[in-house]
Amino acid sequence: MPISVREVEHVAWLARLELAGEEKQAMAEQLGRILDYMQKLREVSTEDIPPTFHALQGMTTPLREDRPEPGLHPGEALAGAPDRVGELFRVPRVGDADGDGA
């Protein structure tokens, strides 16, 4: 199942992953070969077979008391930030400088 370079570009955009020009072609070929292998799954009839979304059956979402517990100090939580101002993460401007996003 060949994948086009355009499809690769679209998926890379969805994944927020920049790809170099020459890498796109290689990625298209590799993904194509891997997805070819996945075609095997078509041989299996899965009508009426429910999907597995949890490895162990019968496990339900556990609930606990809504009780405050000690967490990380803001300083610790922010310690790994590449760029911060006080207790905030700083990022490049989001949206257009002339628009209302700033």
Partner: protein, 504 residues
């Protein structure tokens, strides 16, 4: 062996500090060649060892157990509890995708190269509480994606049995460090075989517990419905001991099972006669190297001699497991790895606008295999392909699981090779992703089904270790360990075991 070391330390015949020093000096001598460690924490390890030695000496003077009298200062009480733990003074290493407070946790990735977690993973906390001493963090395939240890962003790990060969992956550094005697035990993580396959390649014991048996809190997520932390050790008894410490419910992990933890070591001596063992024919056919098949067949005869009933059986959907895995795991990974965007921690590559910053950070931060799997996963989850790929794979996963359920209605355990081959040469498969993926073909179904399994050394082929995989129903770790231990005892005098001992 761990239990004996802890016992000698408790009695004062061996000082914890000496044991940590000997590990550190062995690492200094050998790790330049092997590449097992990404970070060492020697100073803190020596301090902790000295503290445990002092506590134990004080307890011996009192002539009682190590636990101190009430009313002590909190720090001292903590130290006394550590000294009283079953692993008091025993050094260990931990895969670098398990968070350690104040110590770098990189996942062998450029994107986390400088990341220092502000908290400990639950397993690290439990081991510390039991007195174990962390000496360092081990090398791995980036974000646990790989089967050879060659995908580390920093340097590859080499197999101590033959340094031209890979140690397996992704827990490459942990397996190699235990095999080379750098540490008595190590932790790894197993998403598709990442503890068992390197254990098999390096000739050590590696266990993947039932999904939910060991807390994943603080394990950097790769594929959340498959990941599980497990021990790498030299003996089955050591594995049982480490399991006792790390297993058990954790309220911080919503997928952690509320099932009590048995005393694994207690079961080890029990007779295995009468156990019903199934050997799925799909694991013994084409694609399994003749030398591997021969070693596994010899192991089956040992079990027959021990009075087990050994029969051929079938897991008919095995051939689809690899395709299921390489859709489900990348899909979950693409979602889990979305958090690496250069905002809250890790690498940031500056760019004019925020989307360009995300994309450029992720491009420079992730290596080729991680990028490939993010792309594959994003594709499988994207509009128009979700039903055909991801949902289809999850339906076939149900069939793989049902195969196991049916088999376990007839058999106590299932036996198979851990890997179709022995350790391959460095560089041999790096150009071909699909051939690399095949290295996990025998271990992947276990993760899809969430069941426990162990890999233990069972012989040699081409002078390299062969691993036997023993699989069990959910939470049957105790039966698996019992069978593995019986095999280990029965083959204690085998020539390949002797050669193994001499190498170390």
């Amino acid at each position: 062996m761990i239990a004996q070391a802890a016992d000698a330390i408790r009695k004062g015949e061996l000082r914890a500090r000496e044991l940590v020093e000997s590990c550190l000096s062995r690492i200094a001598g050998l790790d330049g060649l092997l590449g097992c460690f990404l970070s060492l924490d020697g100073e803190r390890a020596l301090e902790r060892a000295a503290r445990i030695d002092e506590e134990l000496a004080r307890a011996r003077q009192r002539g009682a157990g190590a636990a101190g009298p009430g009313g002590m200062r909190a720090g001292t009480r903590e130290a006394a509890a550590e000294a009283d733990g079953v692993l008091a003074g025993v050094p260990y290493a931990c895969k670098d995708n398990i968070c350690t407070r104040g110590l770098r946790t990189t996942c062998a990735s450029r994107i986390l190269e400088e990341y220092v977690p502000p908290y400990d993973a639950t397993v690290v906390h439990r081991l510390a509480r039991a007195g174990a001493i962390l000496v360092g963090k081990t090398n791995m395939d980036e974000f646990a994606m790989g089967s050879s240890g060659e995908n580390s962003a920093f340097f590859p790990t080499r197999n101590p049995r033959d340094t031209t060969r890979v140690p397996g992956g992704s827990s490459s550094g942990s397996a190699a460090a235990v095999a080379a005697g750098l540490v008595p035990f190590a932790l790894g993580s197993d998403t598709g075989g990442s503890v068992r396959q390197p254990a098999s390649f390096c000739g050590v014991v590696g266990m993947k517990p039932t999904y939910g048996r060991v807390s994943r809190y603080g394990l950097v997520a790769f594929a959340s419905s498959l990941d599980q932390i497990g021990p790498l050790t030299l003996t089955v008894e050591d594995c049982a001991l480490v399991m006792e410490v790390i297993a058990g419910h954790d309220p911080r992990d919503a997928t952690s099972a509320q099932v009590s933890v048995p005393n694994y070591r207690e079961a080890l001596g029990r007779d295995v006669g009468g156990l019903r063992l199934g050997v799925p024919r799909e694991y013994m056919g084409e694609g399994i190297e003749p030398g591997v098949r021969e070693a596994v067949n010899a192991a089956l005869r040992v079990f027959s001699d021990l009075g087990c009933v050994v029969e051929e059986c079938s897991l008919p959907h095995t051939e689809y497991a690899l395709a299921v895995y390489y859709l489900v795991a990348p899909a979950e990974a693409s979602s889990n790895l979305a958090r690496y965007d250069g905002v809250r921690y890790g690498l940031r590559v500056d760019a004019g606008d925020i989307t360009a910053m995300y994309s450029r950070t992720r491009r420079q931060g992730f290596g080729p295999e991680v990028r490939r799997r993010i792309m594959l996963g994003t594709y499988a989850l994207s509009a128009g392909y979700y039903d055909a790929y991801y949902l289809k794979a999850q339906r076939v996963r149900t069939l793989v699981k049902r195969d196991f359920e049916q088999a376990f209605s007839r058999y106590d355990l299932l036996l198979a090779p851990t890997s179709p081959t022995v350790a391959f040469r460095l560089g041999e498969r790096t150009e071909d992703p699909l051939s690399m993926y095949m290295a996990d073909v025998c271990t992947i179904p276990v993760n899809l089904a969430g069941i426990p399994a162990i890999s233990i050394p069972c012989g040699e082929s081409e002078g390299l270790p062969v691993g036997l995989q023993i699989m069990g129903p959910p939470f049957a770790e105790v039966t698996i360990l019992q069978a593995a231990h019986a095999f280990e005892q029965a083959t204690a005098g085998a020539p390949w075991r002797k050669r193994e001992g001499e190498r170390r």
